[in-house]
């Protein structure tokens, strides 16, 4: 060994240095890539804030649609529309999502359980425009464009997120809680709703927040379902306005007034989406600290 080692060391010095250089360069490059990826995020956020805050005002929020010749009006109709669409979508997707999460977490290794988990993953990867077309063929073709159809499309997009996050949290609930409840004679359903669900409530809440964040800016599926409207409407069987649809329409409008309004809507949507994402993340962090 002793006779071999010096020769081995001498021969490999330059090679050794080369390896070190490659190491440092490549590791540095991965850090640089992370910075490059964050550049567009900063760029978008800064521009949305700068251009959006200029057109934002109280009357912009409280007025309904007016032609540009009358000042352009506001977006109250779209705020109401988006509220109705998202609220209704949550009403559809949360119960189904929670029940599905119960099933998946209680039957993790059965064929149907695996199929549903797989289906949840695949459904979350489907293009939203395809979901919009589906609801069109299912509902709109017969009944016409409506708020109900729009919220159905959003509900389908929310479902996999609600299932996924609720399931993750149900997995974290200690087994002893469930077994204790069953041992006391409580039926399965009572155990699920009175013991497991309250323990996993933060999961349901973060799931709902992330799901709302996901659909708050959805535009494509609403083109075929809610259609959009310039009137203030709360009817569920009529076309209804929504913030992202108005943003799209105003962004491609030749009028400078409309463009400025589009940026203000972008600011509102981005603020909502970021707040929901940050809130959900904080809740998750707080929750995992509690469990430790």
């Amino acid at each position: 060994m002793n006779t071999l080692q010096p020769r081995h060391l001498k021969r490999s010095t330059t090679h050794e240095q080369g390896r070190r250089v490659v190491n440092v360069v490549m590791l540095g490059l991965t850090g640089l890539m992370t910075l490059i990826a964050l550049a567009p995020l900063a760029w978008i956020l800064i521009e949305v804030l700068r251009r959006g805050s200029g057109a934002l005002s109280v009357s912009f929020l409280t007025d309904t649609f007016k032609p540009t010749s009358l000042g352009g009006g506001g977006i109250w109709h779209a705020l109401v529309g988006t509220g109705i669409l998202i609220g209704l979508a949550a009403v559809f997707s949360v119960p189904v999502g929670i029940l599905t999460a119960f099933y998946v977490s209680q039957h993790p290794n059965t064929t149907l359980g695996l199929a549903v988990r797989f289906g949840t993953d695949v459904l979350s990867g489907l293009p939203s425009i395809v979901v919009g077309l589906f609801v069109y063929t299912l509902v709109v073709r017969g009944q016409g464009y409506s708020a109900l159809a729009g919220s159905l499309a959003l509900a389908i997009l929310m479902l996999p997120i609600v299932v996924r996050t609720t399931e993750e949290m149900l997995k974290l609930v200690p087994k002893s809680l469930r077994e204790g409840s069953l041992a006391l004679g409580a039926p399965e359903w009572k155990t699920s709703f009175s013991v497991l669900l309250p323990a996993a409530m933060t999961g349901v809440l973060t799931g709902l927040m992330l799901a709302v964040a996901r659909v708050a800016g959805e535009t494509a599926p609403l083109l075929f379902t809610a259609l959009g409207s310039n009137n203030l409407s709360t009817a569920l069987d009529k076309p209804i306005a929504s913030l992202p649809l108005v943003l799209f329409k105003y962004a491609v409008d030749p009028s400078k007034v409309r463009n400025a309004q589009a940026w203000a809507i972008a600011l509102i949507i981005v603020t909502l989406v970021l707040a929901l994402n940050i809130g959900a993340r904080l809740i998750t962090l707080w929750r995992s600290k509690m469990l430790q």
């Binding site: 490549m26 978008i44 949840t120 399965e188 959805e218 799209f248 972008a266």
Partner: protein, 333 residues
């Protein structure tokens, strides 16, 4: 399982209640039904799009996919320009987002100090939270004039010039800003978090012992990553790329707003194009005849089939890595 029987020992319960296991039979039926609803949705999407595209499938047959003529007035519908446009923009996005996303995943999983990891990972994921339509507005008013236009002009003047060597027809002019290149670049930003987040999870599922063994043999950190960690997670990383591709195929609003929406088959990334998703969104309001509407739905059916196939392949690949490592948390897959 014996726990579930516990209730039936209570003598006071009525016979109906006992038959229903004190509500557990309806409960189990409900949760199984809602699970089936979710699966039914997947199948339903395919079935409904298939049924509603029957008129064009009858009228055009396979030429719907191969024909390059999209002429709604003449009732001739060939979707080839959109299929090619979708593949071209997605490919541009992948070429840029794959190395970047993998680099980010490596940085976050292997190198980043623990106290920064959560924050940086979260910030990268926020790129996926920004709505498509906001990307589109940013693209029209800021990204195209201040980045894509100078880049496109440069590419057109160098590799896009027939006298230049090497001459690359994909950069041939004329160029006016709205183009497949612009769409591809924005898509790259949009799919970056998909690739980096899932690759990140895959890298975390690689067992520690693999890294420690390589380091103990004298590898540098980079050699450990490049020769041990990445090969181990290769199938999962491939899965993340395919998921990114799936996301790029279906992105609608941002692409519609920056690609120019011209149904032509060209080899140049600098000319305006059309994708499958953007043609549906852009021409829906104009589709007055039943055949036109059915043609757009058939484009949607193609999009559905492509993204379903890609998603299934990708999920199986990602699952295969987390399955391989029984002690590791399976990641978010």
């Amino acid at each position: 399982m014996t726990f579930q029987q516990a209730g039936s020992f209570k003598s006071s319960s009525s016979s109906l209640s006992r038959v229903l296991q004190h509500g557990d039979v309806p409960f189990k039926t409900f949760i199984a039904l809602s699970s089936l609803t979710l699966l039914g949705l997947m199948v339903g999407v395919g079935v409904m799009l298939w049924l509603n595209s029957a008129p064009t499938r009858a009228a055009m047959g396979w030429s719907f996919i191969t024909s390059t003529t999209w002429n709604p007035v003449g009732q001739v519908f060939g979707a080839a320009p959109f299929i090619v446009g979708t593949l071209a923009t997605s490919l541009v996005a992948l070429v840029i987002a794959f190395p970047l996303g993998l680099g980010i995943a490596v940085f976050l999983a292997e190198l980043c100090p623990a106290q920064w990891r959560t924050l940086l990972g979260f910030l990268v994921e926020l790129l996926a939270a920004i709505p498509s339509v906001v990307y589109g507005a940013w693209g029209i008013f800021i990204f195209i004039p201040s980045f894509v236009t100078p880049l496109g002009n440069f590419l057109m003047g160098t590799w896009g010039n027939p006298k230049h060597f090497p001459y690359l027809p994909i950069f041939k002019g004329p160029f006016f800003g709205a183009s497949s290149l612009a769409a591809g670049l924005i898509l790259a930003v949009m799919i970056l978090p998909t690739i980096s987040a899932i690759s990140h999870d895959v890298l975390l599922a690689v067992p520690r012992a693999q890294r420690e063994a390589a380091l103990a043999l004298g590898s540098t950190e980079w050699e450990t990553i490049w020769q041990v960690v990445l090969p181990y997670g290769l199938s999962g990383i491939l899965g993340s790329v395919i998921l990114g591709l799936g996301r790029a195929l279906g992105e609608t609003m941002a692409v519609t707003m920056v690609i120019g929406n011209v149904a032509q088959l060209t080899t140049s990334l600098l000319s305006p194009g059309y994708t499958m998703a953007s043609v549906i969104a852009n021409e829906w309001g104009e589709s007055r005849t039943p055949l036109y509407g059915s043609a757009l739905i058939e484009v949607g059916l193609l999009l559905f089939s492509m993204s379903l196939l890609l998603n299934i392949i990708a999920r199986l690949l990602v699952w295969s890595v987390s399955r391989k490592t029984p002690d590791a948390e399976g990641g978010r897959a």
